[in-house]
């Protein structure tokens, strides 16, 4: 047994289902207790899907423990009839794997043609695989299953490998790349797995080049396609303005497109110019650290170092299998590469180095806030805030602009910082009057005491005051106002517990 408080990666079945359900016209069935089904909530909530996601849980129950069969065939028949997928991918959670049910056997027993969809058992190991490895392997397996020999497209074309549902700003990332590809006259043949249908996969060999958005998600698929069709892939990561330009130069080389066309694609890219403006000069004195998925960490670190001239304290990843890859990629950028899946070790590194800005996952945002270190979220594990309604890519030229904005939003702007140093913040600088006594932060104990005094005609008895203290702090002020309004309207001079409850009954809160 191993004590786990918090993990960067989800279990393998989540990786399988994230990949499988991201494809178009493919449904994923997970054999698991219903308790393992929480990943569908993230799909429904984060992606704001107004339809049922193509993901079902074939629930294990007490009856299963007593020996009842999985009844998987029935579920497959129902999904086939209701959703008409072209393929149903079956996997199981670690719990289901312990039971060693013969799911393959159940599938094999089904009559040919009984369901129209192809049935496919994912080969991942429910305990040994991680979310990332399960995702990458399942993506490759499904691609390999459908890929057929096909002629190369007439015009240059690419497959984008890596984006998925629940991916980090993935739809915007694809859109950002598309804009550059349009300018260069490059077609998008398939986006894998996000939305790619079996038809898209059958002709995946049309593409001239494969483009990964993340090495750790795409590598097995890239290798497979190179072996099968000889399709090369771009090695550079499209992070930052210079980075995207390097990436497009490599791509143009492979697509036999003159590199001077890149200027048209770069129209609107501002990061390098922003970096030259006086507002950004102070960035040279800033120390930063980056932790997250390997590709995001490597890509971001290079932008921060080479395009914004910031100092890198450390770069790290929680994807242990990709530690060496990251070390190689950032060797020229930093002296410290942190490869760990223990969030507390990352927190200790933040505490030790105290960077001016941390770039990390939502967990680093939590940890950094404890040390008063501002943090920009650039990697999963994500939060619903990382699924914005608007357009916020991280890669390509638009992504470079967004990274610039993110740096600005996360730290105090250079020029602003300079002015504050000189003149002091409003109200507290050397020209300001002394702050009047008795000003307290809202929500503090002092504020409560002042509020009591200001109630004037009203008295809170200690029991009621204590009960009010148990109301969550963010609604406490409203609750107090409601109770006092109620009491005044009824000429009640002393607020006790019963008055408080009566008030709640009448006005809520």
């Amino acid at each position: 047994m191993k004590l786990a408080l918090w993990s960067y990666q989800a279990p393998a079945h989540v990786g399988v289902s994230k990949a499988a359900a991201s494809f178009g016209k493919i449904h994923c069935v997970v054999r698991a207790p219903k308790g393992d089904g929480y990943s569908t909530i993230m799909l429904a909530m984060f992606e704001r899907l107004g339809v049922f996601p193509p993901l079902s849980f074939c629930a294990m129950s007490e009856a299963t423990l007593a020996g009842a069969a999985a009844d998987l065939p029935n579920m497959l028949r129902e999904i086939d009839a209701r959703e008409h997928p072209e393929m149903i991918v079956v996997t199981r959670s670690a719990t289901a794997a312990v039971l060693q049910e013969p799911l393959d056997g159940e599938i094999a027993m089904m009559r040919p043609g009984e369901v129209k969809a192809e049935l496919f058992m994912a080969s991942t190991h429910p305990v040994r695989d991680t979310e990332l490895s399960a995702f990458a392997r399942t993506t490759r397996e499904i691609v390999a299953h459908f890929a057929t020999d096909t002629a190369r497209s007439e015009r240059p074309s690419v497959n984008i490998i890596g984006p998925s549902l629940l991916g980090f700003h993935d739809r915007a990332n694809v859109e950002s790349l598309r804009k550059s590809f349009d300018a260069l006259g490059i077609e998008i043949n398939a986006v894998v797995p996000l939305g790619a249908t079996p038809d898209d996969l059958r002709t995946i060999g049309r593409a001239w080049v494969n483009v990964p958005t993340a090495h750790e998600l795409a590598k097995p698929t890239l290798d497979y396609l190179r072996e099968r069709f000889g399709t090369p892939y771009v090695d550079a990561l499209p992070y930052g303005e210079a980075g995207t330009t390097r990436f497009l130069r490599e791509l143009c080389g492979l697509c036999e497109i003159p590199a001077d066309r890149i200027a048209a694609a770069a129209r609107g890219a501002q990061l390098l110019w922003y970096s030259r403006t006086v507002d950004a000069h102070a960035l040279s004195s800033k120390r930063v650290a980056v932790f997250g998925l390997p590709s995001a960490a490597a890509g971001l670190a290079r932008v921060l170092r080479e395009e914004l001239d910031m100092e890198i304290e450390f770069v790290g990843t929680y994807a242990l299998d990709h530690g060496d890859w990251l070390r190689e990629r950032v060797a020229d950028l930093t002296n410290e590469v942190l490869v760990t899946d223990d969030y507390r070790a990352v927190a200790r590194a933040i505490d030790r180095t105290r960077p001016d800005i941390m770039f990390g996952s939502q967990m680093e945002r939590h940890s950094a806030s404890g040390f008063g270190v501002p943090c920009a979220v650039v990697s999963p594990p994500a939060h619903i805030l990382n699924f914005p309604l608007g357009y916020a890519p991280f890669i390509g030229y638009d992504g470079a602009n967004h990274i610039g904005d993110l740096v600005n939003q996360t730290q105090v702007l250079g020029l602003e910082h300079h002015l504050i140093e000189t003149f002091g913040p409003r109200g507290q600088g050397r020209f300001a009057e002394a702050a009047p006594e008795g000003i307290h932060e809202a929500g503090s104990a002092e504020a409560a005491a002042v509020a009591v005094a200001e109630a004037g005609d009203l008295r809170w008895d200690p029991a009621a005051e204590k009960l009010l203290g148990r109301v969550p702090f963010f609604v406490r002020k409203k609750a107090r106002a409601n109770v006092e309004k109620y009491a005044r309207e009824r000429n009640i001079a002393t607020i006790d517990e019963s008055v408080m409850l009566r008030a709640r009954e009448h006005v809520g809160g």
Binding site: Y38, G50, V51, M60, M75, E78, A94, N189, V471, L501
Partner: protein, 424 residues
Amino acid sequence: MFEETPAVIERDDFCSLAPIGWLHHKMQDSFFLVVGTGSCQGFLQTALGVMIFAKPRFATAVLDEDDLGGADPLDGLRPIVAAIVAEHAPQAIFLASTCTPEILKMNVAGCAPPLEREFGVRVYPCRLDGFDPAYTQGEDHVLQSMIERSAPTDERNLVILGCLSPLEEAEIRLECAQMGLPEPAFLPGESALDVPALGPNTVLAAVHPYLFGAAAFAQRERGCAMHKSVFPYGPDGARAFYETLAAAFGKTVSYAEREAEAWAALANTIAPLRDKTIAFCSDAMLELPLARTLRAAGARVPLVGTPNVYKKFHAAELARLDGVEVLERPDRFALFARFTALAPDLVVANLNIANPLEGMGFAVKWSTELTFQPIHGFSGASTLFGMFATTLRRHEALAARRVRDGAPGAPINLDYFHLAGSNR
């Protein structure tokens, strides 16, 4: 779309580990140690993730291949419990067995006594699995494990069973004092060691409909008298709850006037609910009492899905649900087919399916909120009805504006993500 009843049922609620969220918050000196897989741990951090801001008082002992191979769980648990005791110094540890130990027939509960002896910390063994129970029933299992440690008594005492907020407890305390009843003890209390004495003269009143197991256990093992009332949701529920409590102590008290007064005070809040049709998906087991009080508030509730019905424990609720079709553990899609035919004004559903149901055109009240808002008693009624009324009002207002402007606000579907060939 979904005409036939499928043979395989998809469940839409959470794992019964979920109540750790409110239970560890209530019992500030507790620690919840879950013995399970990375998936258990993933669920806890997803569902209760915000609490990582503080030092979390819950964790998972993730089973590895040695454990799956039959290693003694006590050997694995010893160093983990030692670390927890050293870091958190809890008064009590809830040691939860989950799906995988159950499959392995691993004796997790059997580890509790030796761990308790070795570390000098009370260890309550409980089972919090994701097989059959409704997610709220995790609380039932935790409370049952606490009742097992209750001292016997012959005293005529009153025990309120179920995790409540201080506001809700305050109302019950005040009403009991008003009626001249003994001061109630609450299970759970603020300490995980607070287990009231129970005996044949104890009146045990469950306040949640999902506590059948703990209540039945107390009745069977300690001879407690079971409180037979509807649950204290809404003014009608609160009235019956208090009147029945008084009767259990040989007093006749009428809350008729109090109930009328409460409804009058709620007139504005419940006005939007009048004659509206509300249907429930099977979820937290709150469905029966909420359907009952929403009907008392003037809504129509023709169809209620619920995970488990306990005929005796829920008898008082069922008696007031005349004409309501109650479907026990219905299939998701079969239920939606019924909704489509019914065209309810509001559907109450778990977060899992709330957005897709909105996408199907229903107005949806997400149900999870109902398990953590203080909605019990007279004082909680405004909050309770307010949640339904607000959702209805908002949905109607937005729909009217969308119609006015000819902007339908179409739901995101999977085509939105099909980007291949978009620039061909």
